[in-house]
């Protein structure tokens, strides 16, 4: 079982050395830049690690999918291989990803200040609800599970029509839930920063929610409550 890591960075240059401190340079870690600076380039080239540049559009689903396609084209991934996604400013302050049940498909990493833990316990969770705990700032997914989503989502893991901040992960969470995946909220890996509460600082968050609802209804996967 191999680990393939994808870090999407939007000018978060200062965090690159910290990721390399955690994982090392020989760790199948890939940086996806959508606002690459000279300093970014210098750091990844001097470290000899792969990187991908995309248009500076801030499209996080696209950036993550781009990273995934890179590994698919450059590594012979098997179904039990693990894809890990990190946002460019989420450094693992604790990294013990293996302390989980064997049946996991998705691991939702927790954060230092994690409001999900006010409602949920560490362990198996359901994401087939409208407000689900699937946050994409840091999570792991078996490649076999990724391919299941491909079948539900037109060949992509993340829906790239989510161009505003947020909700692309909630949407993925609903799909994972409907696919019957085993999803664990996992504290074996703890990331820096917080989860929850910052959505209100995004002025167009309502539009993201609207798009989220629209996509759920279009795909007929709205998690109705009976």
């Amino acid at each position: 079982m191999m680990h393939y890591r994808i870090v999407i960075s939007h000018g978060q240059t200062g965090y690159i050395p910290k990721f390399l401190d955690v994982f090392g340079t020989d760790s199948n870690i890939l940086f996806v830049f959508d606002a690459m600076t000279d300093a970014d380039l210098h750091l990844v080239q001097s470290a000899g690690i792969p990187y991908v540049c995309v248009l500076n559009e801030g499209n996080r689903p696209l950036n993550r999918n781009t990273g995934l396609r890179y590994w698919e084209q450059n590594a012979a991934m098997r179904d039990d291989d693990v894809i890990e996604f990190f946002d460019g400013d989420r450094i693992p302050v604790k990294y013990m990803p293996d302390s989980v049940p064997d049946d996991w498909d998705v691991l939702l990493y927790t954060c230092e200040n994690d409001r999900r833990l006010e409602k949920l316990k560490i362990g198996k969770v359901t994401t087939n609800v409208l407000c689900n705990p699937f946050y994409s700032c840091g999570f792991a997914m078996k490649y076999g599970a990724v391919k299941k989503i491909y079948g539900m989502n037109d060949g992509s893991l993340f829906d790239e029509s989510f161009t505003q901040w947020g909700c692309e992960d909630q949407y993925l969470g609903v799909m994972c839930g409907r696919a019957g995946m085993n999803i664990y909220l996992h504290d074996g890996v703890i990331l820096s920063g917080k989860v929850g509460g910052d959505e209100m600082s995004h002025p167009k968050y309502r539009e993201s929610l609207q798009h989220y609802v629209n996509r759920l209804l279009e795909k007929n996967i709205f998690p109705h409550i009976s």
Binding site: G11, Q12, T13, A39, L130, G197, V213, H224, I225
Partner: protein, 780 residues
Amino acid sequence: MNKITLTARGREILSQNTLQGGEAYWVGYFGLAYVPDQGRFSDEQTRLINDDEHGDYIYNLWQGDLVNEGHSIASDNLRKLTMYDRNLTSNFRYMYDDEKDCNRLVTWTTKDDSESGSSSYVREGYHIYNGITQGESNNTGDTDTESELPCPAPLFYAGGSASYGTAPENPADFMNTVSADWPKCKVNGDDCPMVTPDMRAYPGTWAGATSTGWNWVPQNAGKYDTLPSYITRKTAAGEDGAESLDQYAKFLSVSNFNKEHGHVSAEGYNVGYQESCHNMSMVTRLFPIASYELTATSEPSTNDPNRSERGSAKSIKYVIRMDLKSAYQGVRAYLDTLTYQKSDTEGVEPEDIALYTSKKPNSFKFNRIGIYAVPVTIRHFYKEGDAANRKDCRATHYQMEISPDAKPELFAVMQVDEVCMSEDGSFGLSDYNTTFVLNLENVSDNTSLCTNPEVYYNLAENEAITWYQNQLIATAGLSEAVTNLGVNMAHMMNNRPNASCGECSFSDSTSTVDVPSYGVFTETYDGLVPKSSEAGDTDKFLKGDGTWAVPVVSPSMPIIIRDVDLPLYDEGKRYAPNYSRARLTILKSDGFHVINQDGQESLFDNVTWDYSKRGPSYEHFSFGGANQLVWYTWGALYDEDKTPNVINNNNRTLYLDTTTLLPGVVYEIAIKICAIGSDMINMITTGNNGFGIYFYNDLDGSGNECLENWYKWADVSAESPVYYALYPNFELYVEPTDGSTHRPLYDGNNSPGSGRTEPVLASATIHFVKVDGKVYVMSY
């Protein structure tokens, strides 16, 4: 032969703009760039800013004298300073670097004469201008911006280099075409030059040199929007023109643009306003086109004397004029060889160390000129004395304004045959004048235009274009520093309908302080006069027939409701109404709208109305076609000594009629508690009482909601709890500290008594959607 070609974006602009409609653009800027030929093109040469080793390679610095004595508030010196046509060659220069084979922007430091005790301007040593860096955070968490040189001061360009009152030098004169009553800007009693520095609060910029060089530290960012006290603001008639000038400053100010777009930290990503690095090096890089004329135009499309004539143009002739003559007699000649004095040992005479040998002491070097277009908005205004005639609309005038947020777009590129650079003499390029004619015919036919390979000849096309555009983009921050409202850019102007009676429903966007901000109304249209609270029913508007009615919002319209402001003063006295209030504004992408009772839509500016709730016996709030509500409600008021006192607000609940919610629409309600007293804090944070949203029809109680920000209020005695309402768990609230029982929290830099403030003490936002008859709360 010089060539000019439209960019792809230029073609789009032309193709999208006709006399029948489209967005209006003004083509009025140009920028310079130098594109080396293929043999010299390298990655190294693409470095523009913040390059410690090489400095700026090409940098259009039209700031004038920022190092020398000219940077002073004395009026006579002011005119030697920051005027792009003077003193430019005094202190900044592109020097050819043999070693790097490129030009570098350098300037000189002053020298403190220890014997005489005075400073002189002997140019010993140099600075490579490296742009601006972000300094360390201070003890309040703010981050200063530092530069070894004073940050380039934004410019107001007003059409010419002469002071106000002088005959305009070219048709692009701003002051005399917009309004005869446009306020003068004075410094120490003298008129400001038509090209002036941004004289708002940048006190650090004239703090002078320190022993370690120049250090510029911006003061309170909030002052960027105000004018310093030494500027007297008068209209031509001697009346107070403060507000007009403030408006002028706002939409002309590059720093206003920068405020929105320059939030770049040292690591390159966007940060909050207070923490941001206001990178002034990104502004003030575009220059006004001296004049231009339309050739072979059609007849003007209107005879309305109040509007600019317009027609369709077949070509535009641009005149570019750069006058770099230095009028300052104290300018010294430069040496061809630059040295600085170095001494490592005390008592030993300094040694002259050669830094550069200047082959060509270039002030500027360019072989490309970029022509920029910027979108403009047609505004309507009334001249003085017109207010009494508003109802019949006869006095409506037009003007075009550049949006402060609009960024110039590269419209066309001129290729200059010869690389233009300064002369070999000591004063560099004295002037540069040229004329280009841009053919607008057959713009959709690519074959009629110079193609990029022709323009960029031997260069790898993509690299050259990208490199060139990056240069120009890096210099393209000055969207509002230069403006021209009276130019006949016929082909590119949106053809707006004439403001005849019955069609005029525009509010006054340029009203002065003594004119209330409301628009005209007719028998058909709702006006913009909200019914006063004394008259009751404050959610209604006055119609032209004298009756009051509630504006009807079409459900089919995607409408955003946004708050504008909240009146905290009544005759200079702060007060809080004893009822909850929501102030609503309908905002669409192109402005403010309202739908009348007949379903007809009208465009308004700053339309607002109040929605009030006075108790459960009143009607429930209906969103109509809107989907956002910012609900201000009150918990306390301030005394004159700024102490908040609790008042009894019995109307803290917003009642929603969920039967009117549109299925699948995500609604947002933001509750903002204003001026709340400390003894109410506990009440609102526990959620046991106080402010809430009551869902009139139903509320999904399945536990599907994520309610970290909210509490549900339910009757838990029942077998199945009945959920009544949601109460916000406010995250932002006032905590009494340091023995003070009241410590208000303010947005921005406002404080009690400073003006119109919104002391929002607590806020929470909730989202919900109705699907299949159920309301799902979506706040996470």
